[in-house]
């Protein structure tokens, strides 16, 4: 697809810088365009799969659309789509199914749009993925998404105290594994 050659007038208007905007994107499209890269990053952090991260995000957005009227307000949808992506990314079987689809889809392409990480940073996120899944999700949301304890609890659907406990355990484990100071919050 070439820039500015979209078949969708709403999307083309956005890409062309809006000089001839005649149509605003719909609610789902706006939500998608705003949130997609961040959800891909979350999926990459928690799955470690460059090939699968976009497909995990796509799957989460498709599910959001399916339940669009039930999911609620924009903020609720922001949390909801992240919860689905985080669960897909940390569920071994579901992640492998999505990755398999992604690899089939990418066959013949150059490479995923997600770039590989430098070794030291890749080591950090690999250590995060080695945590129990709820701890890994809490760390990814808290650091990557820069979310408060309250917001992280809303995404994970648990109590704030539970998030604090997940983060404290995760920090101690990560500091030990990565041999850095400051594992205590």
């Amino acid at each position: 697809m070439q820039a500015g050659r979209s078949a969708r007038p709403d999307v083309a208007a956005l890409r062309d810088g809006g000089s001839e905007v005649v149509q605003l994107p719909g609610r789902f499209e706006y939500f998608y365009l705003q949130e997609y890269p961040r959800v891909v990053a979350l999926a990459y952090a928690l799955s470690g799969s460059r090939a699968g991260a976009e497909d995990i995000a796509q799957e989460a957005f498709l599910r959001a659309y399916r339940d669009w009227d039930r999911v609620g307000s924009y903020e609720h949808r922001v949390a909801w789509v992240r919860r689905v992506a985080a669960n897909l990314a940390t569920s071994g079987l579901r992640r492998r199914m999505v990755e398999a689809r992604a690899l089939m889809r990418l066959a013949g392409r150059w490479e995923p749009a997600v770039d590989p990480l430098p070794a030291g940073n890749a080591e950090f996120w690999a250590a995060v993925r080695a945590l129990p899944s709820r701890q890994a999700q809490a760390v990814a949301l808290h650091y990557l998404e820069d979310r408060s304890i309250q917001q992280t609890a809303a995404v994970l659907g648990c109590a704030e105290g539970t998030v604090k406990a997940h983060l404290a355990k995760a920090r101690r484990a990560l500091a030990r594994w990565l041999r850095v100071d400051g594992g205590e919050p």
Binding site: L33, V180, G183
Partner: protein, 39 residues
């Protein structure tokens, strides 16, 4: 390097790794949810 320094650096790197991700292309690649789920 402290834990928070390491976490922040790794977070920046991860966000940097998705800068080529194109949400417009992603939206167009998304199977039309209306077609897929309506009817």
């Amino acid at each position: 390097m402290s834990f928070d320094d390491r976490a922040r650096a790794s977070t920046r790197a991860l966000l940097g790794s998705v800068t080529r991700v194109d949400p417009v292309a992603g939206l167009e690649d998304l199977p039309d949810p209306r077609r897929r789920w309506v009817g």
